[in-house]
């Protein structure tokens, strides 16, 4: 008996009698809120370039790139959390706390006589100048200390939410307050300042430029590329989306939901911590009220860029586009000499408009 041999056909060319193909503009990235917001952003940039001769100048573009990079890394991190259907309100406080820990560790290790400092620094022959034993080592240790604290905060968030089953909103609202409070306690409300022999490296790496491109922008692009690969080409990323789409289904198919959820909160926290450390380099200090209410900007940027708070949708492109849009509007209002108090109102309108457009599109199709 002969078996009819089927020639393998690439799946994109399969045709069925009664199931039509979905057109390319109605699926994938083209059908997403991110696509519409990107178009709106391009339109806005074109409009701005006509409205103000300063908008497209190199200095202003650098400024814009730097400013949006200051919330975009944290936005990448929180996007992971939002895709699983969670939320993290503690990112603003954590930015401050991680930055503070980093600069405090840096200063402590650079002060001769302080605990452990003999491993890192010694006094020069003049008896006053502090010299690093290994240049850069203090910087590495102090940044790792800031990130380690972030990991810890992320773990506590994740365990409360995924293992104990507390609501993400309540857990991270509590953590917002706990972490901010700790930042005030450890600095006695005064904040802290990076210092010591490695401080110059720190400033160069956080607020410096490479060929006129701001360093934070370079980190952002690198991290966004890593995130794109992780989300769309790794099993972990797939499980993140599956949990946001149908958590029960993810559980039933054997995905370790608890573990993935803890991991996304740790990712969100580390991104926030890194963001805070970078901001403190640009500010030259980590004041105790640093990044207050930044969690709202970060969540707003993610949502404008197309991340769905109900879970299941989001990505690095959307996170960045959301941040750029917020910054271009702020920058545009300044250049157009509009009263800058309008900014906040306009941001609110854009959050609602972005979600509304997507809802209308979904209803029309």
């Amino acid at each position: 008996m002969s078996v009819p041999s089927e020639t393998p056909v690439p799946s994109s060319e399969v045709t069925f009698t009664n199931v039509g193909a979905i057109r390319w503009w109605n699926r994938g990235v083209f059908a997403s809120q991110t696509a519409y917001v990107t178009l709106a952003l391009i339109a806005l940039i074109i409009l701005m370039s006509f409205a103000s001769p300063y908008f497209l100048t190199e200095g202003n573009l650098q400024n814009v790139a730097k400013n949006f990079s200051f919330i975009a890394i944290a936005t990448l991190g929180i996007t992971f959390v939002i895709i699983t259907g969670g939320i993290d309100l503690s990112v603003g406080s954590l930015m401050c706390f991680a930055a503070m820990i980093t600069s405090m560790v840096m200063v402590t290790l650079s002060t001769p006589g302080a605990p452990l400092s003999s491993l890192f620094v010694h006094l020069a022959a003049d008896g006053k100048t502090v010299v690093a034993n290994v240049p850069g080592l203090i910087l590495i240790v102090s940044v790792l200390a800031g990130l380690a604290v972030s990991v810890l905060v992320g773990l506590v968030n994740g365990i409360c939410i995924a293992v104990i089953g507390l609501s993400p909103f309540v857990t991270t609202l509590g953590m917002l307050s706990i972490v901010r409070g700790l930042a005030y306690v450890i600095s006695n409300g005064r904040g802290s300042f990076p210092g010591g022999p490695d401080a110059d490296y720190f400033y160069a790496l956080t607020s410096g430029d490479v060929y006129d491109v701001p360093a934070p922008f370079i980190y952002l692009i690198a991290l966004a590329l890593v995130m794109a690969v992780v989300l769309h080409h790794s099993a972990f990323g797939r499980h993140v989306f599956a949990i946001g789409g149908n958590e029960k289904a993810a559980e039933l198919t054997g995905i370790s939901v608890t573990r993935v959820k803890i991991e996304v909160y740790v990712i969100g926290a580390v991104a926030a911590g890194l963001q805070g450390i970078i901001i403190s380099g640009w500010l030259g200090s980590a004041p105790a009220n640093m990044a207050t209410s930044y969690e709202l900007n970060v969540i707003a940027a993610a949502v404008i860029g197309g991340a769905n708070l109900a879970g299941g949708i989001g990505g690095p492109l959307g996170a960045i586009v959301g941040c750029v849009l917020l910054e271009v509007i702020r920058n545009g209002l300044v250049l157009a000499q509009v009263n800058s108090y309008w900014q906040q109102t306009l941001v609110g309108v854009i959050i609602i408009a972005a979600v509304l457009v997507d809802r209308i599109r979904a209803r029309l199709l």
Binding site: V19, R27, H233, K248, L252, T253, I313
Partner: protein
């Protein structure tokens, strides 16, 4: 071939896929199941019927490994098995198609089929998803089930019948020997019911044992070889469909007829 080996071969061929003996389950003071015996052979489709609270779901969950029975033994392919987690039963070849299908709407058909069992490829030092491999295999499975489903379409854009195909294709990945389906035709259109019943025929053709839980009498009589009726935690009937009728099964379910 000697007589002995021949006899051994015959007995393995006739060996039941699943054999339950005296299964009972108590939840505190509530007796959910009592003394249930059930045997299912390869390629056999058994309809499991009963009113709400009759113990169907409890029985299915015990077989799926959600919780252990209080009494009785489970034999799978001739060996006694003990399940502690759903993964235990899954790893030896028992798959469940849940009533709500357990699909993630925001993912593609192929992604759902391979959820939790993704194919991966080494990409230098990285281990990344093998998208092409998964789409090709998913397409093969949909063809095998004769379902017109594109592997890269999102599940949220699909019909009820296509969703069923995705959920059933998932069970075909692991070469399951027993597939349990919980109300697969409860929430879909008449035309799609036909599709789902033909999917069950496909499974049967490939020698897979199927337990079909359904409230729909016509579906049971259309695809099942045997019908098992549960009432108040006990098995009240186990008959080939040819030797019974919808009226008799209804009477058994409601208790109008005690047992058959």
């Amino acid at each position: 071939m000697t007589n002995e080996t021949m006899a051994a071969a015959i007995s393995t061929a006739a060996q039941p896929v699943l054999e339950l003996k005296g299964i009972g389950k108590q939840f505190g003071a509530i007796r959910a199941l009592h003394g249930v015996d059930l045997t299912i052979g390869a390629g056999e489709v058994v309809g499991l019927m009963g009113d709400n609270g009759a113990g169907k779901s409890t029985l299915v969950r015990i077989i799926a490994g959600n919780f252990p029975p209080s009494q009785g033994t489970i034999q799978f392919c001739g060996r006694e098995v003990h399940f502690h987690r759903p993964m235990d039963s899954r790893s030896i070849g028992i798959e469940v198609v849940y009533q709500d299908l357990a699909l993630a709407n925001n993912l593609t058909a192929a992604a759902n089929v391979f959820l939790g069992r993704e194919l991966k490829r080494n990409f230098g030092p990285l281990v990344l998803l093998d998208h092409k491999g998964m789409e090709a295999r998913a397409l093969e499975l949909f063809r095998e089930l004769r379902s017109e489903t594109r592997p890269h379409d999102l599940v949220k854009d699909m019909s009820g019948g296509q969703r069923q195909a995705v959920a059933i294709a998932r069970t075909r990945l692991s070469n399951a020997k027993l597939v349990m389906m919980d109300e697969p035709t409860a929430a879909i259109s008449v035309r799609q019911v036909e599709q789902v019943l033909s999917l069950i025929h496909r499974l049967k053709e490939q020698g897979i044992a199927v337990i079909l839980i359904s409230h729909r009498m016509p579906d049971i009589f259309a695809v099942c070889d045997r019908v098992v009726v549960m009432r108040r935690g006990e098995k009240k009937a186990d008959k080939p469909v040819g030797q019974t009728s919808p009226d008799e099964v209804t009477a058994l379910i409601t208790g109008a007829k005690e047992a058959a």
